[in-house]
Amino acid sequence: MTQSRIDTRFAELKEEGRPALVTFVMAGDPDYDTSLDILKSLPSAGADVMEIGMPFSDPMADGPAIQLAGQRALKAGQDMHKTLQMVREFRSGDKDTPIVLMGYYNPIYIYGNEQFLADAREAGVDGLIIVDLPPEADEELCVPAIKLGLNFIRLATPTTDDDRLPQVLHNTSGFVYYVSITGITGAAAPNTTKVAAAVNRIKRSTELPVAVGFGVKSVEQAQVIGEVADGVVVGSALVSEIAANLDGNGETACRAVTNLVSELAVGLRSTKLKKSA
């Protein structure tokens, strides 16, 4: 496969010797225009890779912060067409920042798998994370996505044991997303010692970068995780900034998110990746 924007970005950061800051915000939260403004401001604030949530009515793996973000977006009229349009608009002004769409399978299935993949590719999407599509269902979306040149990023979890890891890594591209806890997004803080061991275990089985997410909220946490992983994902903390600034105009929410991203980015830029054991 040709090198994707995700591959390129992680390769650049490896040269620099620092971990990627991977941001997550929900498309259309709190409304289309503000959400697009937030996306446009993230790269200059320090986001290296951007995950964009596709809102779903029943986000079974998400905690309250991201549940509410999805509800705000849906209430404001967000749907899959608008999410893809948002990527298109972003991409017209930024050719380099990798975009990963993250969400659940049903809205894609209803959009039509083939049509979705073609439209996502055309809009400038680089990768997909679909929470409820395990490797057992690869033929449905993962394999067709790879054929179109999209990365399919798999979640590995603390319950993914050595027997299962090869199956999870097979067909994974771009990076591996290590879920740092057994739980939902934005829940308890991960135990960094265990995370380090898990990341090293995964790295022994793959050349792909490993990003760690679920429960990373502060600069300090991000730095500790950034010492052992190739990327740190921050999501719930960012959408919580939106939730806390709904009273103001869109600019207030946008500024709150970019401020936090800047802090995280500054923190991570001073973090040097330890060579994995």
Binding site: F56, M60, A61, M80, N106, I110, D132, T159, R164, I184
Partner: protein, 406 residues
Amino acid sequence: MTEPVEPNSFRAGPDKEGYFGIFGGRYVAETLMPLILDLEQAYNESKEDPEFKAELENLGKHYTGRPSPLYFAEGLTKHLGGAKIYFKRDELNHTGSHKINNCLGQILLARKMGKTRIIAETGAGQHGVATATVAAKFGYPCVVYMGKTDIERQSPNVFRMKLLGAEIVPVTAGAGTLKDAMNEALRDWVTNVEDTYYIIGTAAGPHPYPELVRDFQSVIGQEVREQIMEAEGRLPDMLVAAVGGGSNAIGLFHPFLDDRQVQIVGVEAGGLGLDGEEHCASLSAGKPGVLHGNRTFLLQNDDGQILEGHSISAGLDYPGIGPEHSWLKDTGRVDYVPIMDDEALEAFQLLCKVEGIIPALEPSHALAEVIKRAPKMDKDQIIVMNLCGRGDKDVFTVGKALGFDL
């Protein structure tokens, strides 16, 4: 979708990946996947294990009170003036519904797997009560997720669960009904995956749940086969059962699926009518999608967002349906029809008066369909309806709907 080919047997599913045709499967987060595979292995071992079967049968007999009677409803039959109507009286089970059949089976699996904590979701509260019951009997802590709306309309069952030692967690997300409770139970499970067993109450969810719940409920249909042969010397002409997620219905239907002379009817909650969104008729008015671990018919909008639905019966208030029912609809083996809230309410009252039985609102939907069909049938024809729950829990809801101040 292409027209499905008629299978040689309707009883062979699911395949080893958990599919009934295109329906079913295992659409879950990676954290749960290893556990689902463990559960499948534990279930496959147990269903071949004579000791497991013997223990379950023994519990069924002495704890639940099986076999439940197959009762000839003479009063209703006379009243309607058509086919002979039999009720499979699973409402006489311990805990008041068919739900206990499944809970006993699953608690034995939980014990076999070494789990130490039980969680469940509940709509009407019947499954929650049955789960709290088996957790109490086997000495497990139990957490039941229940939508806030359902807690309000099913308060007797909420108190029952508390008496049985369960912790009730109100779910305020969404409309606060069964689907939201199931989301929250899944979130608990993914967080406490090491020690927790999730007793799903209906024949839905990721494989192997639809299969194992069906198997534990199939005792209903197996008993009916024997009992109707004893009573009438032949199989019935028609089976009727209410379908929410579909566990009581699949339990009755499954042993008869290959008896093509037996017509089978599943009754969905038509709520206030199929024109708007105030119903739960996922088979009659939904389309295939993926939710809660399986592909099945779902009530959803054009963007794949799941709708809340509505039914007067909290137990039918679910926007999905077990995947095997979706397949049985697609293959045409089972007819699925909607019954409206007001039809179910009338049926509820009729049964109280002509048979002295207060049914739950869920089987009242099945009963309303029987009331429509029986008069058009010959007097020597036989209908068996699953009277899957008793109505004590619903008297407040019915009272309110009829304008009584209880």
